[in-house]
């Protein structure tokens, strides 16, 4: 859940600072993991989360303050970054922090010319190309794009399309969930 507080030395004078921390529970993957923090991969994912949300949250409305986002993975089955982004979007929405749009993320891959959306762990481990896309669905703007493993240039467009589709579908789901929750909350408050 995000929270706001004044940070000391790193405060930016005109914008809010977004601080993200990403950690995986030791029981989250098949083999028991040690060192949930300090991993290079964890730092990189945290950085990417930070970058995505800095672009999406309207930080200029909260000068000299800091927004913390902590994400914990309970079970990892491929596409951790995407799950983090979607979860964090919901959390930020729930906290009432204004954002440009929902940030929906999805991974996509290619298996012999067929684009696949939302790869799971065995599909990722198969070694095919993997594209992670974080999208703001209304404007179609890409907040983060990351590709690993080889992908031919011609196929890039197809993969991007597949990921875009998945993001838009996700956006519909997220939207519905947020509205339902709002209705619940207002109903409870209204009583």
């Amino acid at each position: 859940p995000p929270q706001m507080r004044g940070s000391r030395s790193k405060a930016l004078p005109d914008r809010a600072l977004v601080n993200c921390q990403y950690s995986m529970a030791t029981f989250s993957t098949g083999e028991r993991r040690r060192r949930p923090h300090g991993d290079r991969q964890a730092s990189e994912l945290a950085l990417q989360l930070k970058q995505t949300f800095e672009a999406a949250i309207l930080t200029c409305l909260y000068p000299r303050s800091q927004i913390d986002i902590y994400v914990q993975i309970l079970q990892a089955d491929g596409g951790e970054y995407c799950a983090c982004v979607n979860a964090a979007t919901l959390a930020v929405m729930d906290a009432g922090i204004p954002m440009r749009d929902y940030v929906c993320a999805s991974s996509a891959g290619l298996a012999e010319d067929t684009p696949l959306a939302d790869l799971s762990s065995p599909e990722e481990a198969a070694g095919g190309p993997r594209l992670v896309l974080a999208l703001l669905p209304a404007s179609g703007q890409i907040a983060l794009l990351q590709l690993s493993a080889r992908l031919h240039q011609e196929r890039l467009e197809a993969a991007l399309e597949a990921a875009g589709e998945a993001c838009r579908a996700l956006h519909a789901v997220l939207d519905r969930v947020v509205r339902e929750r709002l209705q619940e909350v207002t109903a409870l408050l209204g009583d």
Partner: protein, 441 residues
């Protein structure tokens, strides 16, 4: 040590120049800087210079037991180091964001793209495999570390030779380079990173940003491709918003650039191979250019001289003829001579000193200290003539950066001003402070 922050006027200047599609070093939007590759005496050691950015790469190998879940694959280890040698802003031993980002990019580019055949690094399955370690050190930071690092990495890996090994049953013999020639690594393809810097929310993009441009950019998109037009990795960072066709356009540009750079790498590798075979001298000592003062020269940069004539004529007609400059050397004592006289000490008369410095600001754009002094003597003499003329409105406040004066009254140096007047006004504040400093000495 903290890096000096970029001043606002410099930032504005850079952004305006980019809007007009001009870059500081005269390149076009899609131009790369010169790439120079030089090899060391050992196999697997190379330095890549991309403009002034220099990266040193070193590959080494070692026999180790393999990872338990991958018994038949060799181990690759990549490490990029940023030391304070590269830029004063880098601190040793601290895991900065930039370092993590660069490291992960290099890892993804070289490891996940499977450019090296790890199966071939296996010696005895489950017991001994080769561990290849690539160390990259940034020697000088002038922008675009990732491109230089990726080129250095792949070149070093191509250049590296590991000791030959033979297995007889259970016995493994490692041959030294004297016994048998070392064997190159099997590399499938060469992924090269190309970075695109975005400005003004994605309206302008530049390839291969220099350090100044990196300070003002919104974000960067890195695409790594090999010459078969396969994209090895894409990474967008910095919080910019992209659109799909921008990404596709960038990938097309990358294809072109990567082809060029791969050719260059091949040529360099072949040259080095030839030199070594012929027994010629190789290594860093040979490739460092002689930096004698007599041999020092800057690369000529193309300057747009289209409007220079009109500009020069304009300036000449507006300027008064310069007053006589005392160019005769005055001999004070044997062995010392003085050309020109120093400026008058203007501590007491504040108004006059302000006029002098204002005059100096109008007249100079980029002058060395000596030239400043010479011009001051000119200016003060001219100013004394026009002192009783129109009152010159000056501001006493230090904060204002622009001092308005009648420009026609002052002699202007005829200098080809290819930069817009914007630069002149932005330099005024700087010069104002500089003059005050020099007056204090």
């Amino acid at each position: 040590m903290k890096a000096t922050p970029l001043s606002n006027c410099e930032r504005r200047f850079l952004l305006r120049a980019i809007e007009e599609r001009k870059r500081l070093d005269g390149r076009q939007c899609y131009d790369y800087r010169n790439v120079r590759i030089s090899f060391g005496a050992d196999y697997g050691c190379c330095i890549v210079e991309l403009g002034k950015t220099r990266v040193l790469a070193q590959v080494s190998c070692e026999l180790v037991p393999p990872k338990p879940n991958r018994p038949t694959e060799g181990i690759l280890f990549f490490n990029l180091e940023l030391s304070p040698m590269a830029a004063p802003g880098f601190e040793p031993g601290r895991q900065s964001e930039l370092l993590v980002k660069l490291n992960r990019l290099i890892e993804r580019c070289l490891r996940n793209s499977k450019c090296i055949d790890t199966e071939s690094l296996c010696v005895v399955a489950g017991e001994k495999v080769w561990q290849i370690r690539l160390d990259l050190h940034l020697l000088n930071h002038d922008g675009n570390i990732i491109d230089a690092a990726s080129i250095a990495g792949i070149v070093a890996l191509c250049h590296f030779r590991r000791p030959d090994v033979s297995v007889q049953g259970e016995e493994v013999t490692v041959y030294t380079p004297e016994e048998r020639d070392p064997v190159p690594l099997s590399i499938h393809h060469m992924p090269i990173c190309v970075s695109f810097a975005f400005f003004q929310q994605g309206t302008y993009l530049l390839v291969d940003p220099s350090e100044r441009e990196e300070c003002v950019m919104d974000g960067v998109l890195v695409i790594a491709m090999n010459k078969h037009r396969e994209i090895c990795t894409i990474q967008s960072s910095g919080g910019i918003m992209l659109v799909t066709d921008q990404v596709l356009r960038c990938s097309k540009i990358t294809a072109v650039k990567v082809a060029e750079i791969t050719e260059l790498i091949q040529k360099a590798l072949e040259n080095d191979q030839k030199v070594r075979k012929e027994g010629g001298k190789f290594g860093f000592a040979e490739s460092i250019p002689n930096q004698k003062i007599t041999a020092f020269k800057m690369e000529s940069a193309a300057v747009d001289t289209n409007n220079v004539e009109e500009q020069a004529e304009e300036i000449i007609t507006k300027a008064d003829p310069p007053s006589e400059v005392f160019a005769k050397p005055i001999l004070h004592t044997p062995g010392t001579a003085q050309i020109g006289e120093g400026i008058e000490n203007s501590w007491g008369d504040l108004e006059e000193s302000e006029r002098e410095e204002a005059a100096e600001e109008e007249g100079e754009s980029e002058a060395t200290a000596f030239e400043c002094q010479k011009m001051e003597t000119e200016d003060t003499s001219t100013m004394r003539e026009t002192k009783t003329d129109e009152p010159i409105v000056l501001s006493d406040s230090e904060e204002e950066e622009v001092v308005i004066l009648e420009p026609q009254e002052l002699p202007k140096k005829t200098r080809t001003q290819t930069n817009s007047k914007q630069e002149n006004t932005s330099k005024k504040a700087f010069n104002k402070r500089r003059k005050k400093k020099r007056a204090a000495h």
